[in-house]
């Protein structure tokens, strides 16, 4: 197929074509150039060229890529699969769980990965419904995080079970034992909600992928051509196909938002429904949702930095403006998180409940207190000190550092909620500090697994939704209003 570099089908005449050489307009022209280079939406390239960039970025791998893949595969094979086999054969005794720490690092992982997965939905659904144009280049990169994050979350659930080979008893299907699962249990609500969320977000990842798969189909040979041909389902781009696809995407965007809120709320109810000190808190629902967004948006910052630094042509699509936008978002969410955490803290602090007070004291002064301080520093201090500065927000490596810091802080937060809270019970006779054992290599293996899946996916499907970028670029233009060139956004849909 001929790759032609032609101008886009713009709704408005492109700026700068009406230059008459006057000094003011030359000055205005200079400003337009600044606008052009900064904003992706005002710096359109011909579709064919963007397609070629996406394809090249997807197809090119160097030796460093494969070295990382091999290392990750080894970590996943030994740290995750082999250790999990030991866990199944030996029993939960090889993990660090005991009385009263019945839930440990695996549950921290469950909450953490579901938290990561919320970022994808936030960006591709909420920002879409709110018509935030800045989302366009990284919706798919974020949605991939959702899908792979949910895979890890599901694995973490399986990991903590004593008899994991009987997990299928939780599936509500008619059976010979004539038994149904117990829907009184928050774990069943978890099961239903996570299944719904995983299926929905995979479908929502796939729908906007179809036109890009069609593009890749037209530009591939060999096994890739067959792969994209199957993925594209014969999509041609006819008006009817766009209508059906667009309608479904709108339904998904609106419907998946309440599902997203419900999933992490239901996960929080695993703890809130329990009558343990530190868990039985009514603020857990929104607290967990905001926490999920906090860790998720930060993870997106980190992933975008890695993509931009390691893949070809990504500097055209992922710009400083996107880091700036996500940085502002991260600051706001960090403040919201602090608000909810303060709620969760002040209520037991104020009241006289013996067990609650003892737990708070243990969190702040016990042997695990360093984790509590890490949480506060990484979730509040670091974002609040750095993210208010616009120049710093536009520094990708600094934003990646924030991404790592906040994720460490949020992991610490979940550690405080699960293994640290269960250390203290209502009976002074029963208390024990949790010491993670096989959970550590398995957790490391899961992080490696996530990265491995993501890296493989980055070379199998185009990470940037080119058609959505072009759609946005077609709607943006510069219009002369008075003496200035003003960015105009047309509602072309």
């Amino acid at each position: 197929m001929a790759v032609t570099a032609n101008p886009l089908p713009h709704a408005h005449p492109s700026p700068g074509n009406t230059g008459t050489g006057k000094p003011e307009e030359a000055g205005a022209h200079h400003e337009e150039h600044e606008n052009h280079s900064e904003h992706l939406m005002l710096d359109p390239k011909p579709r064919g060229e963007m397609n070629a960039m996406a394809m090249e970025s997807m197809l090119s791998t160097n030796w460093k890529f494969w070295v990382v893949i091999v290392i990750l595969a080894v970590i996943v094979g030994y740290g995750f699969f082999y250790q999990w086999a030991i866990l199944i054969i030996e029993g939960q005794g090889v993990a660090g769980v005991t009385r009263p720490d019945y839930w440990g690092l695996f549950l921290v992982d469950v909450v953490f990965w579901i938290g990561i997965s919320h970022a994808g939905t936030f960006i591709s659904a909420i920002l879409r419904v709110m018509k935030v144009e800045a989302r366009r280049p990284f919706t798919r990169a974020a949605e991939l995080m959702t899908t792979f994050g949910l895979v890890q979350a599901g694995l973490s659930v399986f990991l903590h079970l004593g008899r994991v080979w009987l997990t299928y008893w939780m599936i509500p299907l008619p059976n010979q034992r004539t038994l149904w699962p117990d829907f009184h249990s928050p774990l069943m609500w978890d099961f239903m909600a996570i299944t719904t969320y995983l299926l929905s977000s995979t479908m929502y990842l796939f729908l906007p992928l179809i036109p890009d798969a069609a593009m890749a189909r037209d530009r591939s040979t060999g096994w890739r051509k067959l792969f994209y041909r199957v993925l594209a389902l014969g999509f041609r781009g006819s008006e009817r196909e766009w209508k059906h696809l667009g309608t479904a995407m709108n339904i998904f965007a609106v419907a998946i938002i309440p599902v997203m809120f419900s999933v992490h709320t239901i996960v929080s109810w695993d703890f809130a429904m329990a009558s343990r000190p530190g868990w039985s808190s009514t603020v857990f629902g929104p607290y967990f949702v905001i926490g999920a967004l906090h860790s998720g948006i930060s993870a997106v910052l980190l992933v975008l930095f890695i993509i931009r630094s390691t893949m070809k042509h990504m500097e055209y699509f992922l710009r400083l403006e996107h880091f700036d936008f996500l940085g502002k978002l991260s600051l706001v969410i960090s403040m919201a998180w602090a608000y909810f955490y303060f709620n969760d803290y002040i209520v037991p602090w104020y009241g006289g409940d013996v067990a609650d007070k003892e737990l708070l004291h243990f969190q702040e002064h016990g042997p695990a207190a360093w984790i509590w301080y890490t949480m506060l520093i990484c979730n509040i201090a670091i974002p609040w000190l750095i993210l208010w500065n616009k120049n710093w927000r536009r520094t990708p490596w600094l934003m990646a550092f924030i991404g790592i810091a906040v994720n460490i802080g949020m992991y610490a937060e979940r550690y405080i909620i699960v293994p640290v809270s269960v250390t203290v019970t209502r009976s002074p006779f029963i208390a024990r500090l949790y010491e993670a054992a096989i959970e550590i290599p398995i957790t490391i293996g899961m992080f490696a697994f996530f990265l491995l899946l993501y890296m493989l996916a980055s070379r199998l499907i185009p990470l940037i939704p080119i058609w959505e970028v072009e759609e946005g670029q077609a709607a943006h233009s510069l219009q002369k209003v008075g003496k200035a060139d003003i960015v105009t956004l047309s509602e072309l849909e």
């Binding site: 089908p9 004539t178 909600a193 729908l207 479904a248 599902v259």
Partner: protein, 174 residues
């Protein structure tokens, strides 16, 4: 009745494509004999095309209803089939009913909307009869099915409207 044949014209932007379609209308070719392919969705009114209806929302609603029934069955039906008492709650608890019904309704809505895209677009359609790969490069392809005696007029009209190329294809329009 003269034979019909199909032409495809490639345009590089919406203005020219709209002009071309307008010229086809002037020549008496109605909307049923025209199909437009594009690399990004283009609102029908921009090109002077009719508004297309889709059944995806209705299919989604069917799915939502089925999901709601499933959720209610899980919470209110299974305790009738196999009642087991657990402490502190009745056999038919209302808040879990709301939770599970909500999740199943949403799953049904989204799952069936997804299937609706397949059904409505007849996916997979690997043997699609008409396609122009340039479409994924940003071109707008206008397919029109017209009687043979109009061929030259149509070709001239489309070229005058700014088509990059006009060529005949072997295809049947839906």
């Amino acid at each position: 009745m003269s034979e019909n044949f199909t032409l495809v014209a490639l345009f590089q932007d919406v203005n020219h494509a709209a002009e071309g379609i307008g010229k086809l209308h002037e020549l008496g070719i109605d909307d049923h004999h025209i199909d437009v392919l594009s690399g990004i969705p283009i609102k029908g009114s921009i090109l002077g095309r009719p508004h297309f209806k889709t059944n995806v929302p209705r299919i989604g609603m069917v799915g939502a209803g089925l999901g709601l029934c499933l959720g209610l069955f899980f919470l209110q039906g299974t305790p009738l089939l196999y009642p087991l008492h657990v402490g502190g709650q009745g056999l038919f608890p209302l808040p879990p009913t709301l939770i599970i019904s909500f999740e199943m309704t949403m799953l049904g809505l989204m799952g069936f909307s997804f299937l609706g895209v397949f059904i409505e677009s007849s996916f997979p359609a690997f043997d699609a009869t008409h396609y122009a790969p340039e479409v994924s490069d940003g071109k707008i392809a206008v397919f029109c099915n017209c009687p043979t005696d109009l061929q030259e007029q149509v070709t001239n009209a489309l070229t005058a409207a700014g088509a990059e190329s006009v060529r005949p294809v072997e295809a049947h329009l839906p």
